[in-house]
Every structure is written in C-alpha cells, then in structure tokens.
C-alpha cells in the first residue's frame, strides 16, 4: 500500500464513528472491520466529548478529524485549526460542501482551504470529486492524498463514475487515493481496491445495515480481497470466449 503522509496503514479500510446504535456496537464494528483509521468530528460541547474521545483512543487506530458540514473555506479552515488542537493530529479530512442535496464538494472553496491548511502544516485529505483538473490543482496546493467520492455521501450507490475514477487513478499513479463516500455494499469496496485505489472510507453502509458488526466484517474481507486482487494483476477482459480446457488431445468421437 502507498504511504499516506509517512504512515503505512495496516488495512485498506477507514471507518466513520457516526450513527451507531451504541458505543459498544461501534467498538465491536471497528474490531470486525479491522479499520486502520477512524473519522471523527467536532461539535458544540454537550458534556459527552471526553467520554467519546476515550472510546476512540481505546480503538487503537489513527484518528482523522473531518470538517463535515462546512460550506465555506473560512469555516473549514477554522474547524480544522480547532480539530488539530483537540485531536492532536495534523491530519484533516477536508470537506467544503457545495450543495445541500448532493453534499458534493465545492471545488473552489476546497482548493482555497487546501492551500491555506497545507501551508499551515496540515496534512490534508481533501474530499473531492473524480475531476482530474481539480485533482492536479489540489496536489499543487499541497495535498499529498486525494479522497474522491464514489457517490454522494450516504447514498450507498457505489462507484457512480467508474470511467472517471479509473482515469483519475491512472493520471496520478503515485498519489495515494481513498474512495470516500457513497459505498453501500462490500462489492463496491472490492471494486475500488481492484481498480487500484489504496483504501475506502465508509460509515453509512455499516451503520444502516441490519447487523452493523457483520457488515463491517464483510467490508473488511471485500477490501482485503480487492487489494489482493489488484496486487495479483488481474487478467484483461475480452469479448469472445476462450476455452480454458486444452483443445489439444480432445478425443475424436
């Protein structure tokens, strides 16, 4: 696996911490998923912060704070600064949202915030689209990893634009990339890893499953299978059949 800001992740799975039925089920889902990264956020103090932080630290995974819900570069930058102090990490999953229905990134605000934060020593994980030009600009601005969406956040639609994602992957072969958002099934995760993406980040697909812990395990196996398959250099598909059993030596009957 490619190194992300100097860290080689143990597994190609990043898991969100939101919307679990209970903290105990969240912890169990993390164990089942073998996730190497947990995403977290900052919200107005309500007395639960320390307890939640203690649980997260107990998971023994890397912590990736997000700027979820920010609609401007300014808001995202301030949130990132606050997150760095609270979570004691330079990592930031940078979300600058452009539209409430699709939760798609605002490319202009994202680029502005990436440049400002990278210059300020942050290790930025920009939540972006599959747009190749934007990707180049984000890398120029100081991002060393990209997080293209699979589909809109929480939609469970999988890889909406396989062509675009494949092109993006091929355009920047040395850049670590994580498919973030939109996955619904383990097969989507396997697909992403088979295509050469380095990891997947998911949350809703696990917590909205009838059995979140079992689904977390299913995603772990799928991501692992996908990564293994990519490393094994898959065959090229072809239109016509090709017999796998030798033709030579077949009886004349």
């Amino acid at each position: 696996m490619r190194t992300i800001y100097g860290i080689t992740l143990d597994t190609p799975l990043m898991l969100g911490t939101a919307q679990y039925p209970s903290p105990a089920i969240m912890a169990e889902a993390f164990r089942a998923s073998r996730a190497s990264v947990a995403t977290v956020s900052l919200r107005r103090e309500g007395g639960q912060g320390q307890a939640f932080w203690d649980i997260i630290r107990g998971l023994g995974v890397h912590v990736l704070p997000n700027t979820a819900g920010c609609y401007s570069a300014r808001e995202a930058i301030t949130t990132a600064q606050m997150a760095r102090e609270v979570f004691e990490t330079n990592w930031i999953k940078l979300e600058v949202i452009g539209h409430a229905d699709t939760l798609q990134p605002d490319p202009f605000g994202l680029l502005e915030a990436t440049a400002t934060l990278a210059a300020d020593g942050f290790e930025v994980f920009p939540y972006t689209t599959e747009d190749q030009v934007l990707a180049a600009r984000l890398l120029d601005a100081g991002a060393r990893v990209l997080m293209p969406w699979g589909a809109p956040i929480g939609s469970g639609l999988g890889l909406n634009n396989r062509y675009g994602l494949k092109t993006l992957r091929a355009a920047f072969p040395d850049v670590p990339m994580v498919i973030d958002a939109g996955l619904g099934l383990p097969s989507h995760a396997a697909d992403a890893l088979e295509m050469g993406f380095d990891a997947v980040l998911l949350n809703t697909a696990v917590v909205q499953a009838g059995d979140p812990v079992a689904m977390a395990r299913a995603f772990a196996l799928a991501a692992q299978a996908g990564a293994l398959a990519h490393g094994a250099d898959p065959m090229a598909p072809r239109d016509m059949a090709a017999p796998s059993t030798p033709v030579l030596g077949k009886a004349w009957l």
């Binding site: 969100g16 911490t17 995403t39 977290v40 900052l42």
Partner: protein, 65 residues
Amino acid sequence: MRIEVNGEAHEVTSTTVAAALTELGLADARVATALNGTFVPKAARDDTRLAPGDRLEVLAPMQGG
C-alpha cells in the same frame, strides 16, 4: 456582559476567553474555542479579551463520518 456561547445568550462576568470557560464549568474540558469565527488556541485564551455581543464557540470531540 452579554455574549453568545454556542448559539445561546449568556451573561458572564469574565473578560477573557479563559475566564469564561472557567465560569461555564469547562476549564478542564477537552474543547477548542473560536471567537467571532476565528480560532483561539488554548495558549491564547488568557490574553483574548471578550466584548459585549461576542460569539464564542466551544467545540468538543464528536462522532463523525
């Protein structure tokens, strides 16, 4: 003076961010602060003065995706 803390009006006697946190019972909480939309690092809370009508945000770790 009257300031806004996390979107709610509060009457405080404190004149700095650090003192306001103590007054709110959050002196030892794991929180980050912003005043009028600008980040106030922990080390700057003692020297950051409050004015009437200021908006103070006090954020804590929370679940996220």
